[in-house]
């Protein structure tokens, strides 16, 4: 399910639960309050009857000396409503109670009235306690107020129909539910609209990601918000930038690679064609075959270095062990001995037992490459210095030197300052790129100092 829909559902359910609970509480409170009011009203009516009875007696009938019960009967009958009940309590000599009906305008008998359990009416203002109960009779609700007069001689009841309370409460409940439903629906609509807008940014982000995945690496997402989604957008753009850079570098690399491959391929294919179709002398045939052989060797060396580049780039397992400068330098000397001799170049080694923690094989590759480059840059009879000091290794030559403007380019794959010279010695411009990658992966900082005509110094700082 969509996030937006989920959020709306959750909100809707929470809202409905909250409003249900709130409304229930309010409804209960209202119900109590209404009932209380109804009881109070009932009591007021009772009190009115009570006052009516007691007031008049004080005034008139007492003077005349009439009988209390006669008076009561007369009074109530003259009122003649169907809410009042009056009983005279009579105690006979044995102590059991009996009742004599004075007036009963209601449908209830004293027997029934007596059966109910009554509670105190707290607001009663008479000397005598007043009670009430709420009962359902023949599907209508009544409050029955009970009190007494003249030392409990008379028991008075007043009945009030309070069915209207129930009706009102039901109506209230109905309205509450309806309102909640309507508000819920409106909330859904408004929430939906708001979320749609908020989610648009996410939607854009998602579409942009799709575009980039399809290859449009220069695409960026427009983000002006400052909140979490804004931050996400910014980070997304950063990521796109990195991806674009990477693919650009890769494209450049592939471009250079293709170029470097095309050249030997042209020669090989051309010579092969010629050998097949042309009428050549033995000498010419030999030369053609020799070139084919040489160029194949070049492709071989290049692909070897390329594989290594790829291997190392994908973080192959490197073994970091302790190795002394002496061990490293000896290996290098042995490997380079032939080419050193060829050009009558002296390799001077300076070290005082420094110990380095690094991958021995890879570091040897690096040093061999640097020494090899130094040899290529030097003239016959010159010297190359391979030195260790503290946690730094120096490779110094006194040959051609590197022009300042080339310094930032020489570590790029396939870059060669002097192409014809490099190619003649079988190079493809990958040595330094490989060296730079190895140093990066083994946490060694490379610095190059060079002066044209004076020489170059490659400084490797082990961190």
């Amino acid at each position: 399910m969509k996030l937006r829909t989920r959020i709306i559902w959750i909100n809707c359910i929470l809202f409905l639960i909250a409003s249900f609970v709130t409304e229930l509480v309010i409804w209960c409170i209202t119900a109590d309050s209404k009932r209380e009011a109804a009881v109070l009203r009932g009591y007021e009516e009772y009190h009115e009857m009570f006052s009516y009875l007691s007031d008049n007696y004080e005034r008139q009938f007492k003077e005349d000396g009439h009988n209390l019960s006669v008076y009561m009967e007369y009074m109530l009958k003259s009122r003649n409503n169907d809410y009042d009940v009056c009983y005279e309590l009579q105690n006979d000599k044995e102590g059991s109670e009996s009742y004599r009906e004075i007036y009963n305008g209601t449908i209830l008998t004293i027997g029934q009235l007596k059966k109910y359990s009554y509670q105190n009416v707290k607001e009663a203002q008479t000397e005598y306690p007043v009670h009430y109960t709420i009962e359902t009779i023949k599907s209508r609700r009544y409050v029955i107020i009970r009190g007494s007069m003249y030392n409990n001689e008379f028991e008075l009841y007043h009945i009030r129909d309070i069915t209207y309370v129930k009706d009102e409460l039901i109506e209230l409940a109905f309205i509450m539910v309806l309102v909640a439903a309507v508000v819920a629906v409106m909330a859904i609509i408004i929430l939906n609209m708001i979320l749609k807008r908020e989610f648009k940014a996410l939607h854009n982000l998602s579409k942009s990601a799709e575009l980039i995945a399809e290859g449009e690496y220069s695409h960026r997402v427009e983000m002006t918000r400052k909140d979490e989604i804004g931050i996400l957008g910014d980070n997304f753009n950063k990521m796109a930038e990195a991806v674009e850079k990477r693919t650009e570098n890769l494209t450049l690399f592939m471009g250079n690679l293709t170029h470097e491959l095309k050249t030997p391929m042209t020669a090989i294919s051309g010579y092969a064609q010629t050998l097949l179709s042309a009428n050549l002398s033995e000498e010419e045939k030999q030369e053609a075959l020799m070139y084919i052989y040489k160029e194949c060797g070049r492709i071989e060396r290049m692909s070897e270095k390329m594989l290594k580049l790829l291997e190392i780039d994908s973080s192959m397992d490197m073994e970091f062990k302790e190795v002394t400068a002496g061990e490293l330098f000896d290996d290098v000397e042995v490997i380079c001995s032939a080419i050193l001799e060829n050009k009558s170049i002296t390799l001077t080694i300076r070290e005082q037992g420094e110990v380095f923690v690094t991958d021995r094989d890879l570091m040897t590759d690096v040093l061999v490459n640097l020494v090899d480059n130094a040899i290529k840059a030097s003239e016959k009879g010159q010297t190359i210095i391979l030195m260790a000091e503290g946690q730094t290794i120096y490779v110094q030559d006194f040959g051609k030197g590197i022009p300042e403007e080339e310094l930032e380019n020489i570590l790029e794959p396939f870059y060669m300052i002097d192409k014809s010279r490099s190619r003649k010695s079988g190079g493809a411009g990958l040595g330094l790129a490989l060296t730079a990658l190895i140093l990066e992966k083994t946490n060694v900082v490379l610095n190059i100092e060079s002066e044209v005509g004076k020489g170059s110094r490659f400084i490797l700082q082990f961190v």
Binding site: T263, Y271, L276, S277, A278, N279, K419, R423
Partner: protein
């Protein structure tokens, strides 16, 4: 008089391969490997009928060298590994006659060289092979001074073999070159015509059948 062609290419293997093929096709080829060197050498010797220049050269790049060549009216064919349209347009706009991309078919290069030379009217109008002389202007063929009448197709076939002497050409290529690329006939047609050529010009020993490759007119 043989046509003189200057090759300026810093890859020794490729330069030598081109020069080898040019020599086989009866051109005089000179190799230089540095742009600046080439420009300087023109001061002393600029009697070239055509120059084949690599674009990425040390000393002076191909485009700059083109300007030098133009001074001496030497037509230029560019040779390069750069396939992007930009370079092609730049090259041709700059005034080069043609542009060929590495790796290339040697035969294609030879044909393009021929086309340029023809356009510049520098191409030799008389082809000489062994004791046969072919006059390209008049479409006549002489053997030992005697004119040999040839049918149109035979003539075309002979011309192609002679222009590419010592280089084998496949039947399919021959058909495509003479009868056009949409020809749906049999390659046997070529064989038949070769047979007639051999007979009419006594070239049975010189038009060799190179198995799996094609036919080759040899003069060695």
């Amino acid at each position: 008089m043989r046509n003189r062609i200057l090759i300026v290419e810093d890859e020794e293997a490729i330069a030598k391969m081109i020069s080898l093929n040019l020599k086989l096709a009866d051109y005089d080829a000179t190799i230089l490997m540095d742009g600046k060197e080439a420009a300087d050498s023109l001061l002393m010797d600029n009697q070239y009928d055509l120059a084949i220049l690599d674009i990425m050269l040390p000393g002076m790049d191909g485009f700059e060298l083109l300007e030098e060549m133009k001074k001496y009216n030497i037509p230029v064919i560019f040779l390069t590994a750069k396939t992007d349209i930009g370079s092609k347009i730049q090259g041709l706009r700059g005034g080069a006659e043609d542009y060929i991309v590495k790796p290339f078919d040697v035969l294609e290069l030879l044909v393009r060289i021929e086309k340029v030379l023809e356009r510049e009217n520098k191409f030799n109008h008389v082809l000489k092979v062994l004791d046969i002389e072919i006059n390209l202007d008049e479409h006549t063929v002489f053997k030992n001074g005697e004119e040999i009448p040839l049918k149109n197709m035979e003539y075309e076939l002979l011309v192609i073999l002679a222009k590419n002497k010592n280089i084998a050409i496949s039947r399919e290529k021959l058909i495509s070159m003479i009868w056009g690329p949409n020809f749906s006939g049999e390659t046997r047609t070529v064989d038949v015509h070769i047979g007639w050529l051999r007979k009419k010009l006594g070239l049975s020993n010189h038009i060799k059948t190179i198995s799996k490759v094609g036919y080759r007119l040899e003069d060695k």
